[in-house]
């Protein structure tokens, strides 16, 4: 029994880490602009597919990964520059649908370039499961956990110790004041998108060996990451992490103990309950309206 539980926990945490990375991507952009980036799932997909295609072309895995992350970073930056900035001042919901359009553009471009087939990446350090007692742990899961932890630490350092990170935070608290302090808020937004792209790509690359990827994969991933971000309270980085891991674990536990088909439902019932009873999510900040 305990081995089962551990098994579910491990797989849950692995998937959860990917959700968490996606959720962090949403949090970044939302914080800088209150935009929910519906193309985030496509960022994840582009990272995974680019790496897979590069590996297929014979390029070494580490190089392929770096290439994929850089490319997606560029895609993120271009999204802001070409689709968001021209629409500055548009109602938020219009910007939302614009990001949806961008998602379609990215998906369409990938379909044109690489077709609609499924791709996969080889596991980073082989497939032989590591045995912990009676629980089997795929080595890739360790990569996922480890890299996610590194990413989170790097982000924490970035936001608290570097000027770039601090300007991003400042912009999220009060864009006007940030501008008055000389922060180029448009550049900050572009960097948020670029960073969200990179985060998505890292997540995609890490989990592509476990779950296959295809041009359609972005939608579902985007959704789950969205749900994870909402669970944790979309403005918060800690929330994104917690929400993602929680979502992954709950899904795994439900799939294991209750029923595989209803595992997705549990996540959303939970989300609904959280929203009704704790509208700011687990970690989101309180917002009061001054009249």
């Amino acid at each position: 029994m305990a081995t089962d539980l551990l098994q579910f926990l491990f797989s849950g945490l692995t998937v959860g880490a990917m959700y968490a990375l996606a959720a962090l991507g949403y949090a970044l952009i939302y914080n800088a602009s209150h935009i929910v980036n519906f193309a985030q799932g496509e960022f994840i997909m582009v990272g995974a597919i680019t790496a897979a295609v590069l590996v297929e072309q014979g390029i070494a895995l580490p190089v392929a990964i770096v290439g994929a992350v850089l490319l997606t970073l560029l895609v993120g930056a271009l999204t802001e520059r070409l689709a968001i900035r021209p629409a500055q001042g548009a109602p938020l919901v219009t910007l939302l649908i614009i990001t949806m359009g961008v998602g379609l553009i990215i998906k369409g471009a990938v379909q044109l370039a690489f077709g609609k087939g499924t791709y996969s990446l080889p596991a980073f350090s082989g497939d032989t499961p590591i045995l912990l007692g009676k629980t089997a742990l795929a080595p890739q899961s360790l990569w996922v956990a480890g890299c996610t932890a590194v990413v989170v630490l790097v982000l924490a350092w970035y936001f608290t110790r570097t000027l770039g990170g601090k300007s991003m935070l400042a912009t999220s608290y009060n864009p006007l004041a940030a501008q008055l302090m000389g922060i180029d808020t448009r550049r900050v937004l572009m960097m948020s998108f670029a960073l969200a792209g990179a985060l998505g790509a890292i997540g995609g690359v890490l989990t592509a060996p476990i779950t296959f990827t295809s041009s359609e994969a972005g939608t579902v991933l985007g959704l789950k990451g969205f749900a994870a971000a909402a669970l944790g309270g979309i403005g918060s980085g800690a929330g994104a992490l917690a929400g993602g891991l929680l979502l992954g674990v709950i899904e795994a536990l439900t799939a294991g103990y209750v029923s595989s088909s209803y595992k997705d439902a549990v996540a959303f019932v939970l989300l609904l309950l959280v929203l009704i009873f704790m509208p700011r999510g687990l970690f989101g900040s309180k917002v009061t309206e001054r009249v």
Binding site: V36, G89, V93
Partner: protein
């Protein structure tokens, strides 16, 4: 030209356009498409009342649409109910569901409301996918033809007539509603809930009413479209369908009834046109959607209206008060 006259004039033009189509002897396929556009436009009008006017973002509207369809499908197939009764009961049930969840959910705003409605859509989709015995699971289930006291609704022209009639009726009703105190109250809720409350508007009640109304409209259309297609799948209830409805509202124009018709028509007709592009279809669709919204940020109909109104209404100035036009209209 009084607003009332203008409303009736445009409705008359719309009716004429609808009458014109059959005269062009279109193919069965075109009829089918036009019928679906008509029904969809009604759903979008309902969503526009909720979202464009009252500002309540709903990412779960397809849940109501799909539930109406499944109610019709299940009640007629498994229980042998007459089509009209199934449609009516479906609408009542969906209305009741909307009523019950309205209060807790509509207290939320913006992003959180979006997520709550999205969860709803997901839960409904999952239930419809998993309850195979009743719903046929992810493959869906067939829906028998629509019958009324022995007479079967079949044939392209008949269905087209029904869709056109529905659209005309709902457009007329929605235009009236938008002009009325109830409609203004909805817009005030979007503009400033605080001011609305202090003007005596019972905001919670108003939100609930429009939520239920839009849900019932979606349900009835869902039932009709299920009968028309002869088939229903869980895709009718899910997030992609909900997002598509929302996209139609935004593209056509928030708080614009005519915009909803334009949005529905555009989003449904565009893929047909883009088929010709083959593998480029998705990409071009994305480009058109993104590009249109960048240049017409308030949606097509409001933006066109704004462009056509200049210079009369755009620049407002006279002594002693010189009002500065605040860029584009909201």
């Amino acid at each position: 030209m009084t607003p009332l006259f203008r409303t009736h004039a445009v409705l008359a033009v719309l009716a004429l356009l609808m009458l014109a189509l059959p005269l062009l002897d279109p193919s069965s396929y075109i009829f089918d498409l036009a019928t679906r556009v008509g029904f969809t436009a009604v759903v979008v009008i309902g969503l526009n009342l909720l979202f464009g006017y009252a500002g309540q973002v709903s990412l779960g509207h397809a849940a109501f649409f799909g539930l109406g369809g499944y109610a019709s499908a299940i009640l007629t197939t498994h229980f042998g109910w007459p089509s009209m009764a199934a449609l009516a009961i479906g609408a009542v049930a969906v209305g009741a569901l909307a009523f019950v969840i309205a209060r807790p959910i509509l207290r939320l705003a913006g992003y959180h409301l979006a997520m709550a409605t999205l969860s709803l859509a997901f839960i409904v989709t999952i239930v419809c996918t998993n309850e195979q015995r009743w719903t046929g699971g992810s493959d869906g289930m067939p829906v028998p033809p629509f019958t009324l006291f022995g007479w079967t609704l079949e044939g392209d022209l008949s269905w087209y007539a029904v869709a056109s009639a529905c659209l005309l009726l709902v457009t007329w009703g929605a235009l009236n509603l938008a002009r009325s105190p109830a409609g203004r109250a909805l817009q005030a809720i979007r503009g400033s809930e605080v001011a609305a409350r202090l003007s005596g508007i019972d905001v919670a009640r108003a939100k609930t009413r429009v939520f239920v109304l839009s849900a019932v409209l979606a349900s009835v259309m869902g039932s009709l479209m299920a009968h028309h297609a002869g088939f229903i799948t869980p895709a009718a209830t899910g997030l992609p369908r909900s997002v598509e409805f929302l996209m139609m509202v935004v593209l056509g124009g928030m708080a614009s009834i005519y915009g909803s018709i334009v949005g529905a028509a555009l989003v449904m007709l565009l893929p047909q046109v883009l088929h010709a592009f083959g593998a480029w279809e998705t990409l071009v669709m994305g480009l058109i959607l993104t590009g249109t919204l960048i240049f017409m940020r308030n949606g097509i109909v409001p933006t066109l209206r704004f462009w056509l109104q200049m210079p009369n209404k755009r620049v407002v100035s006279s002594a002693p008060e010189s009002a500065q036009p605040e860029g584009s209209s909201k």
